[in-house]
Symmetry: D3
Subunit: 68 residues, 6 copies
Amino acid sequence: MQLSGRNQLKGKITSVDLGAVMANIKIEVSEPNVITAVITKESAEKLGLAEGDDVTAIIKSTEVIIGK
Amino acid sequence: MQLSGRNQLKGKITSVDLGAVMANIKIEVSEPNVITAVITKESAEKLGLAEGDDVTAIIKSTEVIIGK
Amino acid sequence: MQLSGRNQLKGKITSVDLGAVMANIKIEVSEPNVITAVITKESAEKLGLAEGDDVTAIIKSTEVIIGK
Amino acid sequence: MQLSGRNQLKGKITSVDLGAVMANIKIEVSEPNVITAVITKESAEKLGLAEGDDVTAIIKSTEVIIGK
Amino acid sequence: MQLSGRNQLKGKITSVDLGAVMANIKIEVSEPNVITAVITKESAEKLGLAEGDDVTAIIKSTEVIIGK
Amino acid sequence: MQLSGRNQLKGKITSVDLGAVMANIKIEVSEPNVITAVITKESAEKLGLAEGDDVTAIIKSTEVIIGK
């Protein structure tokens, strides 16, 4: 399946922090960039996300703010 | 000003495509990653965004989807 | 690839309306529900979206507002 | 009040899971589709959301990603 | 209908700028704050949005970034 | 740094409620408007957010829904 989401950054999970409802996932995408993703705990568990996993961070282009 | 948005990727604008209301901006953030941002044409003009500008792509962590 | 986005509604495209930067896509997901998606024109073209295509509408759970 | 949000799916709440700050709400909108919504615990309590409630899941069209 | 979206700012439309797919709407919510909303042209037309209309700007709390 | 996010409401924090992963922050932006922001607990701590702080609530225009 191809996705309309233009931004797809490949990386490796460096930490998974589970709360009651949400989870904070850190993904190292390329030196020196780390992406923080907050997803449901439910999703983190269904995908079995763990440190070291190869994943893709997907971000729709309308969600990006530019600072200059 | 510091921002709560966890993801702040520094890069350089490689193209600016203006529509009537929206604008599509390409930002090279690190080999081989390019971020596409869609912002208002109004913002693109107020910030004077142009090819070659050094900018930061800011993405709130709740906006990231993970694919595995 | 599995996605963390919890909401994945399968449907068929019923119309594609291209603007200069954005595109408005209608997806019939199940009687009587039609999903409207606004994506970049660039994505609509790269995926070759056309009437009759079988697609999936993906929505992160943090993007849903509840009305009661 | 009419809303600009194009996607308004009527359904029934099948579960409410409260965390400290957020709440995960499942809404059956039409066979076989279930919508997961993550809202603040505060909102879930102010609206008194409970299993069996008739609700509407509202999603802005810019929040939809298309997979093909 | 009550909405889970915590932020509901009442105001008056001061301008409507229609593009091919999207529309840029300015809403004066309280001195000196003006809210800019980008919605589909389709929604702007279905709601018949025009200068002087009393409207509410609704923003989900997960969409707010804090700067300090 | 200037931001493309059109909506920047200045205000004062009136409460900070920390969960395991997320935090609920209330910001009084102008009588009678209070903005609720949900950000990561991590961000709330890194910015040292506390009652009484002068902050800015930043909202991208594509995130606003209009009710009429």
